[in-house]
Each structure stands twice: as C-alpha cells, then as structure tokens.
Assembly symmetry: C2
Homo-oligomer: 252 residues x 2
Amino acid sequence: MSESIRYCETHTIPYFLCDRQQTLQLSMLVNYMIKVSSEQTAQIAKPLQDDYFKDQPYSWIILQYEFEIERLPRRNETVTFETYAQEYNRLFCYRTFHVYDEEGNCIVNTVATFGIMDLKKRKLIRVPKAIVEPYKAPFSSRIRRVVPPQDVTLSQALKKQYSVRYFDIDQNQHVNNSVYLTWMMDTLPSEFLVAHQVKSGVIKFEKEVSESSQVISYGQVVSDSEQMNTYHRVMCQEAISARATFTWQKRY
Amino acid sequence: MSESIRYCETHTIPYFLCDRQQTLQLSMLVNYMIKVSSEQTAQIAKPLQDDYFKDQPYSWIILQYEFEIERLPRRNETVTFETYAQEYNRLFCYRTFHVYDEEGNCIVNTVATFGIMDLKKRKLIRVPKAIVEPYKAPFSSRIRRVVPPQDVTLSQALKKQYSVRYFDIDQNQHVNNSVYLTWMMDTLPSEFLVAHQVKSGVIKFEKEVSESSQVISYGQVVSDSEQMNTYHRVMCQEAISARATFTWQKRY
C-alpha cells in the first residue's frame, strides 16, 4: 500500500485571526487548511492538473469538512499544519489535516471531502487516477460514512441575513468556504459564543453562492444534560447552500 | 534630539488575506499595522502603561490613518513591517509604519494618529510624558496638518447597510478599526475594485461602533481627467462614525 505524501507548514497565529477569547476563528482554521492543501498541490501536482483541466469545464470543489477539536490555536502560538491525501474512491477524495502545538500534541484533526465537478453538467465526474497519483494516496472503494448535519427546525431557529461582500468571493467567482462558517457562527447569540468552544462538527456544502447574492443563515442551539449542539442552515434563493452541526463545550 | 526605537516584523502574506488581484486587502494592512505597534508596546512599554491605566478610565484610541501606497504586498510575498513613534504633542501621538519588500524597497508608508481618551468624559486627555517615554519619540508642539477626508454627497452616493458581526468586535468591545475599511471598500462597485488600486488615502475615526449596531456605509466615485477619488462616510444611529477619501489608479 502506498504511503501518502505529507506536507507541513508552521505558522504563528496573529491576533487579528482570533476571536474574543484569543483563539483562532474556525473560519480562519479553514483558510489555513485550504492554504496548506493548495501549497501541496502547487509543489507536486499543479502542472499536471492545470494541463488536465485546461480544456475541460472541471473544477475541484470541497463538499464537506469534519472537525475534531481538542483546542484551537491561541493568539501568537506557533503551530504546524500537516496535510495529506488520505484515500480516494470513484467520486471522492478524502484529505486529512492535523494541527500540532509546539510540544507535538495534535490539537485539531479534520477531514475534508473533495470532488471534481463538471461545471457545465453540474455533477461530479469520476476522479481521474492521473490527477491524484502525485499525492500517493491509496484507492479504496469504501465510501466514508459520516453522520450528516442535523437539519434546523426553522420555526425555532435564529435567523440573520447577509449580503455577499466583494472580499467573500474567491478565484472561482464563488463565496469562499470559510465565509459560511462566519455566517453560521455570527447567527448564534454572542453570550453563547463567549462561553462555549467548538469540540466537533461537520459542515456540508450543497450549492455555491455567487457574487451579489443575499443569504439567510439559520442557527439553533439544542442542548440536553449531556451535550450542547448547534444546527445550521444557509439558504440562498430558496435553495440550501450549506448545512452544519457543531458540538460545543463550556470554556474554562 | 532623541532617536525613536524602531520595531520590525517579517511576514509572508497568506492568500486568504488578499483580494481577487492577489494583493493584501487594505483592511488586512491595517491589521498588520495594529499588530506590530501592539507588539512594540508589549516589548517596551506594557507594564508601565498597564500600571498607569489600571485605575483610570483611559484608553488608547486610533483617530486617523494616512496611507501612501506604491503597491500592496502580494500573495506569498515576504515583507517587513517597520514601525516607530514619530513624535507627540499635547494631545496626539504620531506613529509611522513602513512596509519593505525583499529588495528593501519601501512599498507602503502610513502615519497613524493616536490619542488617549477619557472614556467617561469622552474627551482626549493630555498625553502623559511617562507613558510615551519608552518609545523615545520627540515631543513637538506642531500639530500635523492633513487634508481632511472630503465628505460624500449623500444624494449621489452608493449605500450599503451592515450589521456588526460578533467577530468584528475587538477587546475594547468596539468594532475593530480594520472593519470600517471593509465596509467602505465593499460599498464600491465590484467592477471598480477589480480595475483599480488604492494609491493614497486618509481615514478619520469619529465615533466608536458597538456590538449589535447597524451601520450605513456611503461611498462615491468622483473622477476627472487627472484623478480618481472615492469619498466615504460610515454612519451609525445618525452619527458619523468614520470618513475617508482614497485616491486610486488603474491596475496594470
């Protein structure tokens, strides 16, 4: 079995990417993840992929992130982001991300699901072996089973409207992945955000949002004696753009 | 005459702080500036200032930025941010920031005006010599003369409304300085932002914006054969929060 190629970058977290508790914002964690995976691609696979995609209406898209968070990096903390392609099947590529503190403890563990979309037909194409070969991840026919995000009960949900901003748009002309997390978190009450931190979660992207759109972000806090969860849905023009569930714990 | 103490930090600009043209967003330039000036204070003046402020309703506030921009740092470019206290007078402290590229060219030159506010009386206090002594900047009775931002003609201005977001608030419980620049830029047409870059500007902060507020950002493009300017005003509850003028040039 092949050994996936690992890629690492070390960064010191500036204060302006942190929340009021001085820990990295979840949206900025996602930005660092996209950064390290893009850099790995730039190093080992870019000419090959550019060549393959150049006459085709194909594009990499991110379908889902799963988060397991022991703790988020703190302001001015130096951490190492590691990533590697984990395995792929007919339609999906799974990529792992770890964040390590200076003592080598893994503090964040995430898995991203990527696919390649035919932008004309609006459907996923079969992952071409040649495109992913440089990452040295194994093919496996297994489809990863993940509990999907729980849907919000709209009548009980908090609700905020957002206009897509100029700086929300990335090079694909769509809203960058990380922005959905800002919309989802911002819809929750600030007293809740001040007192809690994310422990785990899953976000599923269903439909891109384009420039000049309006979205509505719904969020719902659901807790019992054992667990505190939030459910999220982002809607754009009557369609679901993204859904997510997060599990929280009290901050110490 | 004393020699101001200089402080430098070198950073590589991640893609997610850049705009669609792959250059650092102006709001993120401001974030880096606040970062380096805070770090200098942490290194040479923090215990002294904490002690002085601890029983007083005093706080540093930023009153104005003046920008001169040869070009903004690019994605993945490594640049050095330099700062030093330039001089101070009875009410104002002037701080200089430079950004240098790897060849040592100064590509950005800015001056920030700081003051110390009595938060109860809502007015500036006289700058205490002891507080600024560690920076070794000279006292000078000169007040810096700057052409103030040109006001917008509301009837001709573009207009967008923004709700303050959870992550917009900084440790003083007010909207962070950099967010005003996002609001101002986002109000301009995207075709304009794609085709132009900021050459110079001045932003004046007049009144803080607090959590859960709504603001309206007005922006106006005014050009003649010689110059292209934009005028900006951010209003919150009928009061002016900030005003700015920027001069632009076509992107190459």
